[in-house]
Protein backbone atom coordinates (compact mmCIF):
# COMPACT_ATOMS: atom_id res chain seq x y z
CA UNK A 1 0.00 0.00 0.00
CA UNK A 2 2.72 2.45 1.08
CA UNK A 3 4.80 1.39 -1.89
CA UNK A 4 1.94 2.04 -4.29
CA UNK A 5 1.42 5.50 -2.75
CA UNK A 6 5.16 6.21 -3.02
CA UNK A 7 5.04 5.26 -6.69
CA UNK A 8 2.16 7.68 -7.30
CA UNK A 9 3.94 10.51 -5.51
CA UNK A 10 7.15 9.92 -7.48
CA UNK A 11 5.29 9.86 -10.78
CA UNK A 12 3.41 13.10 -9.99
CA UNK A 13 6.62 14.88 -9.03
CA UNK A 14 8.49 13.70 -12.12
CA UNK A 15 5.62 14.84 -14.33
CA UNK A 16 5.82 18.31 -12.76
CA UNK A 17 9.60 18.59 -12.80
CA UNK A 18 10.54 17.28 -16.24
CA UNK A 19 8.88 19.98 -18.38
CA UNK A 20 10.28 22.73 -16.12
CA UNK A 21 13.81 21.42 -15.81
CA UNK A 22 13.91 19.93 -19.33
CA UNK A 23 15.87 16.90 -18.33
CA UNK A 24 15.12 13.31 -17.47
CA UNK A 25 14.44 13.10 -13.74
CA UNK A 26 15.53 9.97 -11.90
CA UNK A 27 14.34 9.55 -8.29
CA UNK A 28 17.82 10.07 -6.85
CA UNK A 29 18.91 12.97 -9.10
CA UNK A 30 20.16 15.98 -7.10
CA UNK A 31 17.78 18.65 -8.42
CA UNK A 32 19.72 21.51 -6.86
CA UNK A 33 23.12 20.48 -8.21
CA UNK A 34 22.26 21.12 -11.87
CA UNK A 35 21.66 24.87 -11.53
CA UNK A 36 18.30 24.59 -13.28
CA UNK A 37 16.37 25.26 -10.08
CA UNK A 38 15.59 28.98 -9.84
CA UNK A 39 14.48 30.54 -6.56
CA UNK A 40 10.99 31.06 -7.98
CA UNK A 41 10.74 27.47 -9.16
CA UNK A 42 11.88 26.07 -5.81
CA UNK A 43 8.90 27.80 -4.18
CA UNK A 44 6.58 26.65 -6.98
CA UNK A 45 7.72 23.12 -6.21
CA UNK A 46 6.80 23.49 -2.53
CA UNK A 47 3.35 24.81 -3.46
CA UNK A 48 2.85 22.08 -6.06
CA UNK A 49 3.71 19.40 -3.55
CA UNK A 50 1.27 20.85 -1.00
CA UNK A 51 -1.57 21.12 -3.47
CA UNK A 52 -1.06 17.76 -5.17
CA UNK A 53 -0.81 15.73 -1.98
CA UNK A 54 -2.92 17.73 0.47
CA UNK A 55 -0.10 18.34 2.91
CA UNK A 56 1.31 21.52 4.46
CA UNK A 57 5.08 21.90 4.40
CA UNK A 58 5.85 24.34 7.16
CA UNK A 59 8.43 25.32 9.76
CA UNK A 60 11.18 22.76 10.34
CA UNK A 61 10.15 20.66 7.30
CA UNK A 62 11.26 23.45 4.95
CA UNK A 63 14.82 22.24 4.52
CA UNK A 64 16.79 21.70 1.36
CA UNK A 65 17.42 18.06 2.31
CA UNK A 66 13.68 17.34 2.04
CA UNK A 67 13.56 18.64 -1.56
CA UNK A 68 16.93 17.64 -2.97
CA UNK A 69 15.64 14.56 -4.81
CA UNK A 70 12.33 13.06 -5.86
CA UNK A 71 12.98 10.28 -3.32
CA UNK A 72 13.45 12.82 -0.51
CA UNK A 73 10.24 14.66 -1.42
CA UNK A 74 8.38 11.37 -1.63
CA UNK A 75 9.53 10.45 1.87
CA UNK A 76 8.44 13.89 3.11
CA UNK A 77 4.98 13.59 1.55
CA UNK A 78 4.45 10.13 3.03
CA UNK A 79 5.59 11.28 6.47
CA UNK A 80 3.37 14.40 6.41
CA UNK A 81 0.45 12.38 5.10
CA UNK A 82 0.76 9.94 8.00
CA UNK A 83 1.06 12.77 10.51
CA UNK A 84 -2.20 14.22 9.13
CA UNK A 85 -3.85 10.81 9.47
CA UNK A 86 -4.10 10.45 5.70
Amino acid sequence: MAERRAGEVRATLVAFLEPHLRTEITPDLDLFASGGMSSLFALELVVHLERSFGVAVEGPDLQLANFRTVDAMTALVLRLGEAAGG
Binding site: H20, A42, L43, E44, V47, H48, E50, R51
Partner: protein
Protein backbone atom coordinates in the same frame (compact mmCIF):
# COMPACT_ATOMS: atom_id res chain seq x y z
CA UNK B 1 -15.44 42.08 10.85
CA UNK B 2 -16.60 41.68 7.29
CA UNK B 3 -15.15 43.47 4.28
CA UNK B 4 -17.68 46.29 4.37
CA UNK B 5 -17.05 47.03 8.04
CA UNK B 6 -13.27 47.09 7.63
CA UNK B 7 -13.53 49.32 4.57
CA UNK B 8 -15.79 51.68 6.53
CA UNK B 9 -13.28 51.72 9.39
CA UNK B 10 -10.47 52.67 6.98
CA UNK B 11 -12.69 55.31 5.40
CA UNK B 12 -13.45 56.76 8.83
CA UNK B 13 -9.85 56.67 10.10
CA UNK B 14 -8.16 57.98 6.96
CA UNK B 15 -10.78 60.28 5.45
CA UNK B 16 -8.96 63.05 3.63
CA UNK B 17 -6.13 63.29 6.16
CA UNK B 18 -3.46 61.36 4.26
CA UNK B 19 -2.08 64.51 2.62
CA UNK B 20 -1.38 65.99 6.04
CA UNK B 21 0.31 62.78 7.20
CA UNK B 22 2.49 62.87 4.09
CA UNK B 23 3.56 66.46 4.78
CA UNK B 24 4.21 65.71 8.45
CA UNK B 25 6.02 62.46 7.58
CA UNK B 26 4.07 60.64 10.26
CA UNK B 27 1.02 58.42 10.67
CA UNK B 28 -1.09 58.91 13.82
CA UNK B 29 -0.48 56.11 16.34
CA UNK B 30 -4.21 55.59 16.91
CA UNK B 31 -4.84 54.92 13.20
CA UNK B 32 -2.18 52.20 13.12
CA UNK B 33 -3.33 50.89 16.50
CA UNK B 34 -7.01 50.65 15.65
CA UNK B 35 -6.46 48.96 12.29
CA UNK B 36 -3.95 46.61 13.87
CA UNK B 37 -6.29 45.71 16.72
CA UNK B 38 -9.02 44.92 14.19
CA UNK B 39 -6.68 42.50 12.39
CA UNK B 40 -7.06 44.69 9.31
CA UNK B 41 -3.34 45.09 8.64
CA UNK B 42 -3.03 41.37 7.84
CA UNK B 43 -6.61 40.26 7.10
CA UNK B 44 -5.49 37.00 5.47
CA UNK B 45 -4.35 35.49 8.79
CA UNK B 46 -6.56 32.53 9.64
CA UNK B 47 -9.31 32.79 12.24
CA UNK B 48 -7.58 30.12 14.36
CA UNK B 49 -4.86 32.70 15.02
CA UNK B 50 -7.32 35.52 15.70
CA UNK B 51 -7.23 36.78 12.11
CA UNK B 52 -10.06 37.78 9.82
CA UNK B 53 -9.36 34.72 7.65
CA UNK B 54 -9.85 36.52 4.36
CA UNK B 55 -8.77 35.01 1.04
CA UNK B 56 -6.03 36.76 -0.92
CA UNK B 57 -8.58 38.31 -3.26
CA UNK B 58 -10.49 40.12 -0.48
CA UNK B 59 -7.21 41.04 1.20
CA UNK B 60 -6.06 42.51 -2.10
CA UNK B 61 -9.18 44.61 -2.58
CA UNK B 62 -8.76 46.05 0.94
CA UNK B 63 -5.08 46.69 0.18
CA UNK B 64 -6.12 48.58 -2.96
CA UNK B 65 -8.65 50.62 -1.00
CA UNK B 66 -6.08 51.58 1.63
CA UNK B 67 -3.58 52.25 -1.17
CA UNK B 68 -6.03 54.56 -2.92
CA UNK B 69 -6.13 56.71 0.23
CA UNK B 70 -2.63 56.46 1.66
CA UNK B 71 0.34 54.48 0.34
CA UNK B 72 2.21 54.98 3.63
CA UNK B 73 -0.51 53.17 5.56
CA UNK B 74 -0.76 50.54 2.82
CA UNK B 75 3.01 49.97 3.15
CA UNK B 76 2.48 49.00 6.78
CA UNK B 77 -0.12 46.45 5.63
CA UNK B 78 2.42 45.00 3.21
CA UNK B 79 5.00 44.59 5.99
CA UNK B 80 2.53 43.17 8.49
CA UNK B 81 1.29 40.73 5.85
CA UNK B 82 4.80 39.56 5.00
CA UNK B 83 5.66 39.09 8.68
CA UNK B 84 2.51 37.08 9.37
CA UNK B 85 2.94 34.93 6.27
CA UNK B 86 6.59 34.21 7.03
CA UNK B 87 5.75 33.16 10.59
CA UNK B 88 2.96 31.00 9.19
CA UNK B 89 5.20 29.29 6.65
CA UNK B 90 8.57 29.11 8.43
CA UNK B 91 7.57 29.05 12.09
CA UNK B 92 6.85 25.99 14.19
CA UNK B 93 3.33 25.21 15.37
CA UNK B 94 4.16 26.79 18.75
CA UNK B 95 5.63 29.91 17.14
CA UNK B 96 2.55 30.39 14.98
CA UNK B 97 0.29 30.01 18.01
CA UNK B 98 2.37 32.50 20.00
CA UNK B 99 3.09 35.24 17.48
CA UNK B 100 0.24 35.34 14.95
CA UNK B 101 -2.46 36.29 17.50
CA UNK B 102 -0.25 39.22 18.54
CA UNK B 103 -0.08 40.46 14.95
CA UNK B 104 -3.86 40.33 14.61
CA UNK B 105 -4.52 42.21 17.84
CA UNK B 106 -2.42 45.34 17.59
CA UNK B 107 1.28 44.47 17.53
CA UNK B 108 2.93 46.02 14.47
CA UNK B 109 5.76 44.14 12.75
CA UNK B 110 8.33 45.50 10.31
CA UNK B 111 10.37 43.30 7.97
CA UNK B 112 14.12 43.82 7.54
CA UNK B 113 15.70 42.57 4.30
CA UNK B 114 17.90 45.23 2.70
CA UNK B 115 21.39 46.16 3.83
CA UNK B 116 23.88 48.80 2.72
CA UNK B 117 25.55 46.21 0.46
CA UNK B 118 22.54 44.01 -0.26
CA UNK B 119 19.61 45.53 -2.16
CA UNK B 120 18.61 43.67 -5.31
CA UNK B 121 21.39 41.19 -4.49
CA UNK B 122 19.97 39.95 -1.21
CA UNK B 123 22.35 36.97 -1.33
CA UNK B 124 25.03 39.47 -0.32
CA UNK B 125 23.39 40.09 3.06
CA UNK B 126 25.80 39.87 5.98
CA UNK B 127 23.47 40.02 8.99
CA UNK B 128 23.94 36.89 11.09
CA UNK B 129 21.53 34.98 13.30
CA UNK B 130 23.67 32.57 15.32
CA UNK B 131 22.79 30.11 18.08
CA UNK B 132 24.54 30.43 21.43
CA UNK B 133 23.25 27.88 23.91
CA UNK B 134 19.58 28.65 24.60
CA UNK B 135 19.87 32.00 22.88
CA UNK B 136 20.27 33.45 19.41
CA UNK B 137 22.50 36.40 18.68
CA UNK B 138 21.49 38.79 15.87
CA UNK B 139 24.07 41.18 14.40
CA UNK B 140 23.89 43.39 11.36
CA UNK B 141 22.73 46.60 9.75
CA UNK B 142 19.43 46.82 7.88
CA UNK B 143 18.28 49.80 5.84
CA UNK B 144 14.98 51.17 4.55
CA UNK B 145 12.91 49.02 6.88
CA UNK B 146 9.30 50.09 6.24
CA UNK B 147 7.41 50.87 9.44
CA UNK B 148 10.42 50.33 11.72
CA UNK B 149 9.74 53.65 13.39
CA UNK B 150 6.33 52.42 14.59
CA UNK B 151 6.90 48.68 14.94
CA UNK B 152 6.95 46.69 18.15
CA UNK B 153 8.73 43.77 16.49
CA UNK B 154 11.20 43.47 13.63
CA UNK B 155 11.32 40.32 11.54
CA UNK B 156 15.01 40.24 10.66
CA UNK B 157 16.38 38.05 7.87
CA UNK B 158 19.99 36.88 8.10
CA UNK B 159 22.53 34.16 7.55
CA UNK B 160 22.42 31.06 9.69
CA UNK B 161 25.09 28.41 9.15
CA UNK B 162 25.04 27.37 5.48
CA UNK B 163 21.57 28.78 5.00
CA UNK B 164 19.35 31.52 6.37
CA UNK B 165 16.98 32.26 9.21
CA UNK B 166 14.50 34.88 10.33
CA UNK B 167 14.27 36.15 13.88
CA UNK B 168 11.56 38.16 15.62
CA UNK B 169 13.41 40.96 17.37
CA UNK B 170 11.53 43.24 19.80
CA UNK B 171 12.20 46.82 18.70
CA UNK B 172 13.09 47.67 22.28
CA UNK B 173 15.59 44.83 22.80
CA UNK B 174 19.05 45.76 24.05
CA UNK B 175 21.39 46.38 21.10
CA UNK B 176 18.67 47.54 18.67
CA UNK B 177 18.95 51.06 17.30
CA UNK B 178 16.30 52.54 14.97
CA UNK B 179 17.45 55.42 12.75
CA UNK B 180 14.67 57.18 10.89
CA UNK B 181 15.20 57.88 7.16
CA UNK B 182 14.86 61.68 7.31
CA UNK B 183 13.10 62.60 4.06
CA UNK B 184 12.05 59.69 1.85
CA UNK B 185 10.96 60.44 -1.73
CA UNK B 186 7.67 58.60 -1.32
CA UNK B 187 5.51 56.88 1.27
CA UNK B 188 6.82 59.64 3.50
CA UNK B 189 4.75 58.66 6.52
CA UNK B 190 5.60 54.94 6.34
CA UNK B 191 8.21 55.17 9.08
CA UNK B 192 11.18 53.96 7.03
CA UNK B 193 14.25 53.50 9.16
CA UNK B 194 17.66 51.92 9.31
CA UNK B 195 18.05 49.27 12.01
CA UNK B 196 21.35 48.53 13.70
CA UNK B 197 21.55 45.23 15.52
CA UNK B 198 24.54 45.04 17.83
CA UNK B 199 24.81 41.48 19.18
CA UNK B 200 21.14 41.38 20.12
CA UNK B 201 20.54 38.35 22.37
CA UNK B 202 17.14 36.69 22.30
CA UNK B 203 15.62 33.43 23.52
CA UNK B 204 16.13 30.75 20.89
CA UNK B 205 12.38 30.51 20.33
CA UNK B 206 12.52 33.92 18.63
CA UNK B 207 14.26 32.34 15.62
CA UNK B 208 11.72 30.78 13.22
CA UNK B 209 11.91 26.99 13.18
CA UNK B 210 12.97 26.64 9.54
CA UNK B 211 16.45 27.99 10.39
CA UNK B 212 19.03 26.74 7.90
CA UNK B 213 16.64 26.94 4.94
CA UNK B 214 18.24 28.34 1.73
CA UNK B 215 18.15 32.14 1.82
CA UNK B 216 16.38 32.42 -1.51
CA UNK B 217 13.51 30.17 -0.34
CA UNK B 218 12.95 32.35 2.68
CA UNK B 219 13.18 35.56 0.69
CA UNK B 220 11.15 34.34 -2.30
CA UNK B 221 8.32 33.16 -0.08
CA UNK B 222 8.23 36.44 1.84
CA UNK B 223 8.54 38.54 -1.30
CA UNK B 224 5.81 36.65 -3.13
CA UNK B 225 3.38 37.75 -0.43
CA UNK B 226 4.87 41.25 -0.47
CA UNK B 227 4.73 41.57 -4.26
CA UNK B 228 1.07 40.71 -4.32
CA UNK B 229 0.43 43.32 -1.64
CA UNK B 230 2.46 46.02 -3.40
CA UNK B 231 0.72 45.18 -6.68
CA UNK B 232 -2.74 45.66 -5.11
CA UNK B 233 -1.46 48.86 -3.49
CA UNK B 234 -0.55 50.10 -6.97
CA UNK B 235 -4.08 49.30 -8.14
CA UNK B 236 -5.16 51.68 -5.39
CA UNK B 237 -2.75 54.38 -6.57
CA UNK B 238 -4.19 54.05 -10.09
CA UNK B 239 -7.75 54.29 -8.79
CA UNK B 240 -6.93 57.44 -6.83
CA UNK B 241 -5.31 58.95 -9.93
CA UNK B 242 -8.21 57.96 -12.16
CA UNK B 243 -10.69 59.55 -9.78
CA UNK B 244 -8.72 62.78 -9.40
CA UNK B 245 -7.90 63.11 -13.11
CA UNK B 246 -11.41 62.42 -14.41
CA UNK B 247 -13.05 64.77 -11.87
CA UNK B 248 -10.65 67.56 -12.69
CA UNK B 249 -10.96 67.02 -16.43
CA UNK B 250 -14.74 67.30 -16.35
CA UNK B 251 -14.80 70.48 -14.22
CA UNK B 252 -11.83 72.44 -15.41
CA UNK B 253 -12.38 74.34 -18.65
CA UNK B 254 -9.75 75.71 -20.99
CA UNK B 255 -10.29 77.09 -24.51
CA UNK B 256 -14.04 77.12 -23.77
CA UNK B 257 -14.59 73.43 -22.96
CA UNK B 258 -13.80 70.86 -20.27
CA UNK B 259 -10.32 69.33 -20.37
CA UNK B 260 -11.81 65.87 -20.98
CA UNK B 261 -13.03 67.07 -24.37
CA UNK B 262 -9.52 67.90 -25.43
CA UNK B 263 -8.27 64.83 -27.23
CA UNK B 264 -4.75 64.82 -25.85
CA UNK B 265 -6.12 64.99 -22.31
CA UNK B 266 -8.64 62.28 -23.18
CA UNK B 267 -5.79 60.01 -24.13
CA UNK B 268 -4.32 60.36 -20.63
CA UNK B 269 -7.69 59.38 -19.14
CA UNK B 270 -8.00 56.40 -21.47
CA UNK B 271 -4.52 55.14 -20.62
CA UNK B 272 -5.20 55.56 -16.90
CA UNK B 273 -8.32 53.43 -17.27
CA UNK B 274 -6.39 50.78 -19.21
CA UNK B 275 -3.66 50.72 -16.56
CA UNK B 276 -6.15 50.41 -13.69
CA UNK B 277 -8.09 47.62 -15.39
CA UNK B 278 -4.99 45.70 -16.47
CA UNK B 279 -3.47 45.92 -13.00
CA UNK B 280 -6.73 44.87 -11.36
CA UNK B 281 -7.02 41.79 -13.57
CA UNK B 282 -3.44 40.56 -13.18
CA UNK B 283 -3.67 41.10 -9.41
CA UNK B 284 -6.96 39.21 -9.22
CA UNK B 285 -5.43 36.38 -11.25
CA UNK B 286 -2.41 36.15 -8.94
CA UNK B 287 -4.65 36.23 -5.86
CA UNK B 288 -6.83 33.45 -7.25
CA UNK B 289 -3.69 31.38 -7.89
CA UNK B 290 -2.76 32.00 -4.25
CA UNK B 291 -6.23 31.12 -2.95
CA UNK B 292 -6.32 27.93 -5.01
CA UNK B 293 -2.80 26.93 -3.95
CA UNK B 294 -1.53 26.90 -7.51
CA UNK B 295 2.25 27.02 -8.08
CA UNK B 296 1.70 29.73 -10.69
CA UNK B 297 1.09 32.15 -7.79
CA UNK B 298 4.87 32.67 -7.60
CA UNK B 299 5.55 34.04 -11.12
CA UNK B 300 2.06 35.60 -11.22
CA UNK B 301 2.94 37.76 -8.20
CA UNK B 302 6.11 38.99 -9.94
CA UNK B 303 4.16 39.79 -13.10
CA UNK B 304 1.40 41.57 -11.18
CA UNK B 305 3.87 43.65 -9.19
CA UNK B 306 5.85 44.64 -12.28
CA UNK B 307 2.80 45.53 -14.36
CA UNK B 308 0.98 47.35 -11.55
CA UNK B 309 4.03 49.32 -10.36
CA UNK B 310 5.10 50.46 -13.80
CA UNK B 311 1.46 51.25 -14.65
CA UNK B 312 1.09 53.26 -11.44
CA UNK B 313 4.30 55.22 -12.11
CA UNK B 314 3.15 56.11 -15.64
CA UNK B 315 -0.44 56.69 -14.54
CA UNK B 316 0.52 58.97 -11.67
CA UNK B 317 2.74 61.03 -13.98
CA UNK B 318 -0.19 61.34 -16.39
CA UNK B 319 -2.54 62.35 -13.58
CA UNK B 320 -0.17 65.14 -12.48
CA UNK B 321 -0.04 66.23 -16.11
CA UNK B 322 -3.84 66.39 -16.36
CA UNK B 323 -4.25 68.31 -13.10
CA UNK B 324 -1.38 70.64 -13.86
CA UNK B 325 -0.87 73.22 -11.14
CA UNK B 326 -3.99 71.96 -9.31
CA UNK B 327 -2.17 68.71 -8.50
CA UNK B 328 1.33 70.06 -8.14
CA UNK B 329 1.14 70.99 -4.45
CA UNK B 330 2.90 68.53 -2.16
CA UNK B 331 0.46 66.33 -0.28
CA UNK B 332 -2.14 66.44 -3.08
CA UNK B 333 -3.33 62.91 -3.92
CA UNK B 334 -1.73 62.91 -7.39
CA UNK B 335 1.49 64.53 -6.15
CA UNK B 336 1.74 61.81 -3.50
CA UNK B 337 0.85 59.16 -6.04
CA UNK B 338 3.64 60.41 -8.31
CA UNK B 339 6.27 60.07 -5.57
CA UNK B 340 4.85 56.91 -4.00
CA UNK B 341 4.47 55.05 -7.31
CA UNK B 342 8.13 55.65 -8.18
CA UNK B 343 9.15 53.80 -5.02
CA UNK B 344 6.87 50.92 -6.00
CA UNK B 345 9.13 50.36 -9.03
CA UNK B 346 12.01 49.83 -6.61
CA UNK B 347 10.78 47.84 -3.61
CA UNK B 348 9.95 44.12 -3.40
CA UNK B 349 12.10 43.46 -6.45
CA UNK B 350 12.93 46.40 -8.74
CA UNK B 351 11.39 46.53 -12.20
CA UNK B 352 14.69 45.24 -13.58
CA UNK B 353 14.86 42.30 -11.17
CA UNK B 354 11.22 41.51 -11.98
CA UNK B 355 12.09 41.55 -15.68
CA UNK B 356 14.99 39.15 -15.12
CA UNK B 357 12.70 36.74 -13.27
CA UNK B 358 10.00 37.06 -15.95
CA UNK B 359 12.51 36.57 -18.76
CA UNK B 360 13.58 33.30 -17.19
CA UNK B 361 9.94 32.34 -16.83
CA UNK B 362 9.26 33.18 -20.48
CA UNK B 363 12.10 30.95 -21.62
CA UNK B 364 11.03 28.10 -19.32
CA UNK B 365 7.46 28.15 -20.60
CA UNK B 366 7.72 29.30 -24.19
CA UNK B 367 11.11 28.43 -25.66
Amino acid sequence: MDEGAVTALVDDLVGDRAGGWDLAGRLPADVIGRLGAAGALCPDVAAEFGGLGWPSLATGELTAFVGSRCSSLRSLMTSQGIAAWTIRRFGSRAQRAEHLPALTSGLLAAVAFSEPGAGSDLAAMTTTIACDGDEVVVSGHKVWVTGAEYAGELLVFGRHGEGAAAALVPAGAAGVRIERVPDPLGCRAAGHAGVRLDRVRLPRGRMLAAAGVPLDWLVTSALTHGRLSVAWGCVGILRACLAAATRHATVREQFGRPLAEHQLVGRHLAELLVAEQAATHVCAHASRCWDEGRPEQVPAAVLAKHLAASGAARGAAAAVQVLGSAGAGDGHPVARAYRDAKLMEIIEGSSEISQLLLARRAVAVWA
